[in-house]
Each structure stands twice: as structure tokens, then as C-alpha cells.
């Protein structure tokens, strides 16, 4: 009852002409920023901070939160159409979204992405409203050992990301781990593999690798095969309609990954990127037909798209209940709160209930706006695919460059981007999968730091990894995840000998 009253209060805050307008402007700006490869919500929000000075605190946060989840919503578009992830949270979206577009089902892919984003966003806002205060304790319960075990669990799934040779997937992943060690080591302050170049001191940005390995590598192969048609099914956008059986097929992933995404979003340090990867991997693991993943499976599109939007709402839990930012974007949002005179912290719910409930209520409205905004636009946006290939290729290159330069203002990063583009193309030529590299890069850095933090705290005693039940369970699941495919392989061989596939039962 109390939640209902609070929510009504939240809607009272939001349903003024001014605030509805702010929600709309926020999500519109967010969608556009998200669509452009590279440009993410962090810089957009940071630039808006001085402008929000003097604004009503609730309005300011409603506006900026809109930019944040709007960008995650819109980021899938360029992942699906161009294989160029709009933001880091939508890299996993391209794994199955782009193959769908290539098969002439761009319209359907975009519609599924929009619906899953809406569902993930809305379900997780309900969760945010109901359990935010309870989840606050959960958010701080994760320490170095728990993060280490979580990242390890993600890494064990690498082999499953390979389409052909597992060995090549592992080589690719190892390379990702190596790249993750570049930069100043956080625990000792020592430089590693920087070759004295100050541009490498902070390591390589995730987006540079993602855009290089996916977008530019794709561009390379498009240039070399330019005589062929870019898309099968004579460049049609295809129908937007989702059939009843397809709707049934994606309802499972939506239910699963709005929960998983929300939980991972709550953990400071995990966030939308890790959530989307974990969702993609787990959906593939439990799928009856894992080999169709990466070739345009709609479940493989629905899982990360639901998850990244759910994680966005999850990230508001530590921010609103504890005043702890869980990600780069929420850290900037925290700065925005200061500008408008709100001290973010555990007392925000009592001191500024209008901000707390207003933002939550605005997210319901924002998600509806995003759906209305995006669905009718799909046929127009998807027409990007009708652009002549020569022009499209140049546009993708330009957008990738702008995206990378817009984050760091560094020409060095542009060379890196080109380098990763060439690497990505070579990897394709020799059929090394790129996904394990990017996954190992993103998980590896955090895994190493958590591992060493845990050992520093325990004075080098490995027993620390068996102290927390969460850590132990995650480690056990990792072990299962690693050994299960091997056992399964052995069992199914036996089954084949018996000339009866009893495993499918």
C-alpha cells in the first residue's frame, strides 16, 4: 500500500507539463546519441550538467536519467543495422542482430530489440520500485572475491562463443586478456606494456576495440566483396511483424533476462555491458539449439537487449538508495545531483522523496515514450540499408571515427581504432572469432583486479575465496559450466552408439 502511495506521489511529480516535456527531450536525445556509434551517455550528461544549474532537482534528474536509458535503448539500432555498436552495452546485441539484418529481417530485428528494451526497462522499474531498499544491502554484499567468481563464471563460457574451433576461440580470448593488462597496474601503480607512451597509461578503451573488431572489420570485408550484394533478400527491410510463435519464443528470454539484468545492474561495477554479455551467454547455454546463435537467432537478440535495459534501471538502486555510483554514467549523474543542490546519499529517500519517486515514475513514462518513438520510426531508420554500399561504408567509417574521437579527443585512439579494424579483418580471414576477445578483455581486467584486491586484504591467504557462500556457489557453477560440455559430449557419444538420442528427452 505504501509503495502504491509513493508511486502515486511519484506520478504527481512527473505528470506536469514541464516534467513530461523533460522526459521526452531526455529520451529523444538519448536515443539519438545512442544510435551514433561510439558516442555514449556519459559525455552527453556531463555537458548538460552546467545547463541544469538552477533547475528543479527532480526535473534535472528526470531529464538526465532519460538520456541514460534512452541511449541504451537507441544503441541497439546501429548494432543491428551496421554491426557498429552504439554504446558498449549493445555490443552483444550485434551478435545476432546483424545476421538478422543481413538476412533481410532488419525490420523484425529492430522491432524485437525495441519490444525487449521496453519490456526489460519496464519490468526492472517495477523491481526498482518494489525492492530498491532491500537490494541496497545486496549491492554492497559483493566484494572482491564475489566479483572474481562472477567474472570467472563469465569467462568459462568463452568456449561456447566459438563457432568452429574451440582452440581458436581460446587463443582469441587469451589475446583479449593480454590487451586488458595494458596500462598502469591499479594495485601497484606500475606501467605495463605502455612502452612509455602516455596515451596507453589508462589502457585501451572498450569501445575502440568493439568498433574496430566489429564495425571496421565488417567494413573491410564489405570493401573486398563490393561487387557482391551486401544483403541477401534484395536489401529489403522486411516486415516488422512478429509472429505469434516468435512472440512466444522471446517471452522466455524477456522474463529471464529482465531479472538477471536487473540484478547485475544493481552490483556496482557490473553494469549494462557485463549484463548483456552474461545474458547472451546464459541464453546460449540453456538453448536447445546453441549452434543457431550468432546466425540470427531471435533469442540471441532478445536476451542482451532485455538485459542491458534492465541493468540500466538496476544501476539506479545503489545511486538512489546509497549515493554510491555503480558505473561511469551514474557517477556523472551523481555530479548532476550536486549541481542542483541535492546531496546524494542514504538519506535521499527521506530528504528528497520527490527526486527518488519522481525519477522512478518518470522511467515508466520514458519507456513508453521510447517505444512510441522507436517503433514507427523503424521503417525509416532501416532504410539506411538502402544507401548505396560505397556511401554506407564511408559513413560507417566516419561515424566510428567521430565516436572514438568524441570520447577522448585523442588522435592516437584513432590509429588504435584502425589497428583493431585491421586485426578484426585478419581474424575473420583466418576464422578466429572476435567475441571471445572482447569478452575476455572486459571481464579479464576486472577479474585480475578483484583477485589481487582479495589477496591483498587476506594477506595472500587463498582461503578468503571459500569464506563467502556467494563466492563458493559462483565458483561451483563456474566449474559446472566448464565441465558440463565435456561431460555432455562424452554422454552423447555414448547415446549415439546406442543409436538413440535419449538426451533430448
Amino acid at each position: 500500500m505504501e509503495t502504491l502511495n509513493n508511486m502515486l506521489y511519484g506520478f504527481q511529480v512527473v505528470l506536469t507539463f514541464q516534467n513530461i516535456l523533460f522526459v521526452f527531450i531526455g529520451v529523444l536525445a538519448g536515443t539519438l546519441i545512442g544510435m551514433l556509434p561510439g558516442l555514449g551517455p556519459i559525455s552527453a550528461i556531463a555537458i548538460m550538467i552546467p545547463l541544469s544549474y538552477g533547475m528543479d532537482p527532480a526535473s534535472a534528474l528526470i531529464l538526465m536519467a532519460g538520456v541514460y536509458y534512452g541511449a541504451v535503448f537507441g544503441g541497439s539500432t546501429s548494432s543491428i543495422l551496421l554491426n557498429a555498436p552504439g554504446i558498449s552495452g549493445t555490443v552483444a546485441t550485434s551478435f545476432d542482430g546483424y545476421p538478422l539484418a543481413k538476412q533481410g529481417k532488419a525490420g523484425k530485428a529492430l522491432a524485437i530489440a525495441a519490444i525487449c528494451s521496453f519490456a526489460g526497462g519496464t519490468i526492472s522499474v517495477v523491481a526498482l520500485m518494489l525492492v530498491a531498499p532491500i537490494m541496497a544491502d545486496f549491492a554492497v554484499s559483493f566484494g572482491p572475491t564475489e566479483y572474481f567468481a562472477l567474472m570467472l563464471l563469465g569467462l568459462t563460457a568463452i568456449a561456447s562463443l566459438s563457432e568452429g574451433s574451440t582452440t581458436k576461440a581460446l587463443i582469441s580470448a587469451t589475446f583479449g586478456l593480454i590487451i586488458a593488462t595494458i596500462g598502469i597496474d591499479q594495485q601497484t601503480g606500475t606501467q605495463r606494456f605502455t612502452f612509455g607512451n602516455p596515451n596507453l597509461l589508462e589502457g585501451i578503451d572498450f569501445l575502440i576495440i568493439a568498433l574496430g573488431l566489429f564495425a571496421l572489420a565488417e567494413v573491410c570485408s564489405l570493401i573486398l566483396t563490393r561487387k557482391k550484394k551486401m544483403f541477401e533478400g534484395d536489401q529489403s527491410v522486411g516486415s516488422l511483424k512478429i509472429t505469434r510463435s516468435e512472440a512466444k519464443e522471446i517471452s522466455g528470454p524477456i522474463a529471464r533476462h529482465s531479472v538477471l539484468g536487473f540484478i547485475l545492474g544493481v552490483l556496482p561495477g557490473a553494469g549494462a555491458t557485463i549484463a548483456s554479455f552474461m545474458s547472451y551467454l546464459s541464453e546460449k547455454k540453456i538453448s536447445k539449439d546453441p549452434s543457431s546463435f550468432g546466425k540470427g537467432n531471435i533469442k540471441g537478440l532478445a536476451a542482451p537487449e532485455t538485459s542491458n535495459n534492465a541493468a540500466t534501471s538496476g544501476a539506479f538502486v545503489p545511486l538512489l538508495t546509497l549515493g554510491i555510483p555503480g558505473s561511469g554514467t551514474t557517477a556523472v549523474l551523481l555530479g548532476a545531483l550536486l549541481v542542483v543542490g541535492v546531496q546524494p546519499g542514504p538519506l535521499m529517500l527521506t530528504d528528497h522523496p520527490d527526486v527518488f519517486w519522481g525519477v522512478i515514475a518518470s522511467m515508466y513514462l520514458g519507456n513508453v515514450f521510447l517505444l512510441i518513438l522507436n517503433l514507427p520510426l523503424i521503417p525509416f531508420i532501416a532504410k539506411i540499408l538502402y544507401i548505396p554500399k560505397a556511401l554506407l561504408i564511408s559513413l560507417v567509417i566516419v561515424f566510428c571515427m567521430i565516436g572514438v574521437y568524441g570520447v577522448s579527443f585523442s588522435t592516437f585512439d584513432l590509429y588504435l581504432l584502425l589497428g583493431f579494424g585491421v586485426l578484426g579483418y585478419l581474424m575473420r580471414m583466418f576464422s578466429f572469432p572476435a567475441a571471445p576477445l572482447i569478452l575476455a578483455f572486459i571481464l579479464g581486467g576486472m577479474m585480475e583486479q578483484s583477485f589481487r584486491q582479495a589477496l591483498t586484504i587476506s594477506n595472500g591467504n587463498y582461503g578468503v575465496f571459500s569464506e563467502s557462500p556467494v563466492t563458493v556457489s559462483l565458483l561451483v557453477i563456474s566449474l559446472f559450466s566448464l565441465t558440463f560440455p565435456i561431460l555432455k559430449g562424452k554422454l552423447s557419444k555414448k547415446g549415439n552408439l546406442n543409436n538413440n538420442n535419449d538426451l533430448s528427452a
Binding site: L36, I42, S43, I45, A46, I49, P50, Y53, A139, V140, S141, F142, G143, P144, I184, Q186, Q187, T188, G189, Q191, P198, N199, L201, E202, P268, G269, P318, L322, G323, I324, P325, G328, V332, G335, L338, V339, V340, Q343, P344, G345, P346, L347, F380, K383, I384, Y386, I387, L391, L395, I402, G406, V407, F409, S410, M446, Q449, Q453, T456, I457, N459
Partner: protein, 343 residues
């Protein structure tokens, strides 16, 4: 109808918009020529937009300071040219400093704070505070040492006694690298209390998870800034053992925090922020910016913003700033030699 041509046109338009947005951020970057382009008269005035470098990504302390000062300057018309904030992240500041050094001239400033001393001492930058011209100190913040509400330590001396007994039994977390600010402010304070600082256990949590590690009971002490600690203390989630201000602070909640000196530990640490320019900046230009900053700090617009962020005014003239930096550098150099982190 939505035809090919109109789509093309709109795409070109989007690109043009993006480019011009990037361009305006960078506008002064293109027109900059090296050397002394100001007139050598007493009343030097900027002739073109001024580039204010934040040597870090968007949203951090340097970026916020740069954007706030630039906004108040433009609002109050103290400087009638545009002050464009440009982010140059990388290397804990080293990339931005190298940029300013290369650019030179009278139309480039940057925001700076203690890392300009720590990062060169760590061997991560060839450029240090002596390679730039101090213009003015602007604000001050203080460090706070925090434990969780159920910690056995109730004041700084409890903690220091425990550290004297066994430095390895207590883990300290901070949001920056070893040898940088969060680490060294703690080292400096407990050294003044007589602890053997060579054996301290410091955990670096650079994704900003320090506070959640403390609240989750994973570490014992969090070395952080005053602002981060205040709200958590007000909610009763943490205890602030000590702050590094020279004198007790005024204001709700913060007045309850004991300084190191009040607890008999002879130490203080100011997290200052100010502006510097390239080495070759004309003295007239330095005087111009120095006065502009002084004037800005007296406006109501500035005072309101400053209070929202919880900053304290800490104006230093160019000369005072330089002297202060030299002294700080010496103290830190000795300290880092002692813990074996100087490179």
C-alpha cells in the same frame, strides 16, 4: 515520400551537426599558434576563445571545476571571450599536461590539483608543476578517513594504535592508485602518528567501489574526500575518524568531524584545486587571469555553485600558489621516498 535523396540529405545534416558540435569544443584548438601572441602591455586581454583543459574525462573533479568556473566567468562577463572546456583524459593527467605544454601561449589554461605532484613522483609523467605557470588557487577540500558504523575504532588514535601493533591487520581502501592521493594522504597522517608506513596494506579500487567495499565489510578503512563521507556519516552508516582540515569546519554534520590536530596528530592535508597555464605564458596574461579568478570568486553565482558542491574557497595568488606547490612537492617527495614509491 521518403526517398533516397532526402535520406542522404538528412544524414549529411546529422554529420554536419556532430562535426560542428565537436568543432565548437575544439574551436580554439585549431586557431592556436605557439609562442607569445599577447601584447606586452599591462592591460593584456584575451583576443580569442580560451581553451580550458580538464586533463581527465567528463564528470570528474577537474571537469566539474573547469565547467563551473568557465560557466560563471561567461555568465558574469568577467572574461568576455568564450571559455571552452576540453577534456584530455589519460595517464592520470599526463596526456592533458603534455598537450598544454606543446600548445603554449596565453590562451590555454588547465585545472589542476595534487596529482600534478604525485603523478610525476610516481614516474608517470615527465612534466611536473615546474613545467607550468601557476595562475591561482581556487578551492580546497579535505580528506576524510572513514570506518563502518560497527567498527571497533572510534577515533584516529584507536586506529593508529592498532596499526602500530600490526600494520598488516588493517586494510585501507582508496579510489586511486598506490602512490597517488587517496593513498598518500593516509600515509602522511598515520606517519605523523608514529606508524611504520612501509608495511601498510593499501587496496586500490579505481572503479569507485571503495565505499561499497567499506559498507559491505570487505575492508576496514576508506581513505576518501570529505564530500563522499559526509552523507554516509549523516545517515549513520559510517564513522569519520578524522578529517585533514587545519581547523574544525563549520556547518551541519561536518562540524562534528574531528581534525587530526584536535586528536593530537600534527598533520593536515589540503586537496587544493587551481589553474595553471603553459610555461611560456606572459606575466601580463598571468596577472589578467589571476585577477579574473579573484573577481569571479566574489560573485554570488560562484558562491551558490561552490556551496552546492561543498567546496571551500582557497584563493592563492600566482606567487603564493607557486610557493605552496614547491613546499608540498618537497614533503611528498620525502614521504614517497620513505614508502619506496618514488620512481
Amino acid at each position: 515520400m521518403f526517398n533516397k535523396r532526402s535520406l542522404l540529405f538528412s544524414l549529411v545534416l546529422v554529420i554536419a551537426l556532430v562535426l560542428s558540435a565537436c568543432g565548437s569544443n575544439q574551436s580554439s584548438g585549431n586557431s592556436g599558434n605557439n609562442g607569445n601572441d599577447g601584447q606586452a602591455t599591462d592591460d593584456w586581454k584575451p583576443e580569442k576563445p580560451i581553451e580550458v583543459i580538464a586533463p581527465a574525462g567528463a564528470g570528474g573533479g577537474w571537469d566539474t571545476t573547469a565547467r563551473t568556473v568557465s560557466k560563471v566567468m561567461e555568465q558574469t562577463n568577467i572574461i568576455d571571450k568564450r571559455l571552452a572546456v576540453v577534456n584530455k583524459p589519460g595517464g592520470g593527467g599526463a596526456v592533458g599536461w603534455a598537450y598544454v605544454d606543446k600548445k603554449g601561449g596565453n590562451h590555454t589554461l588547465f585545472v589542476t590539483s595534487p596529482p600534478i605532484l604525485f603523478v610525476p613522483l610516481n614516474g608517470q609523467s615527465d612534466l611536473g608543476h615546474n613545467d607550468f605557470t601557476p595562475i591561482a588557487g581556487v578551492i580546497a577540500d579535505y580528506a576524510a578517513f572513514v570506518v563502518s558504523a560497527d567498527s571497533p575504532y572510534n577515533n584516529m588514535n584507536d586506529l593508529i594504535e592498532a596499526l602500530k601493533e600490526d600494520p598488516q591487520s588493517i586494510s585501507v581502501v582508496g579510489d586511486s592508485a598506490p602512490g597517488s592521493m587517496d593513498h598518500m594522504q593516509f600515509v602522511k597522517a598515520v606517519k605523523a602518528g608514529g606508524v611504520d608506513v612501509k608495511r601498510l596494506k593499501y587496496v586500490s579500487a579505481q572503479d569507485g567501489s571503495g565505499m561499497s567495499m567499506l559498507l559491505g565489510g570487505k575492508v576496514d578503512v576508506y581513505s576518501t574526500g570529505l564530500a563522499e563521507a559526509t552523507e554516509q556519516a549523516r545517515a549513520g552508516k559510517v564513522k569519520v575518524l578524522a578529517i585533514t582540515a587545519p581547523e574544525p569546519l563549520e556547518g551541519e554534520t561536518v562540524s562534528e568531524f574531528k581534525t587530526l590536530k584536535e586528536q593530537g596528530i600534527d598533520d593536515q592535508f589540503v586537496v587544493w584545486r587551481g589553474f595553471m597555464g603553459p610555461k611560456d605564458m606572459d606575466p601580463e596574461a598571468v596577472a589578467y587571469y589571476e585577477n579574473a579568478i579573484k573577481e569571479m570568486m566574489e560573485t554570488d553565482e560562484w558562491k551558490e555553485q561552490r556551496d552546492n558542491f561543498g567546496w571551500n574557497d582557497n584563493y592563492m595568488s600566482s606567487e603564493e600558489f607557486k610557493k605552496f606547490l614547491d613546499e608540498e612537492y618537497k614533503t611528498m617527495e620525502e614521504l614517497m621516498n620513505e614508502v619506496g614509491l618514488k620512481k
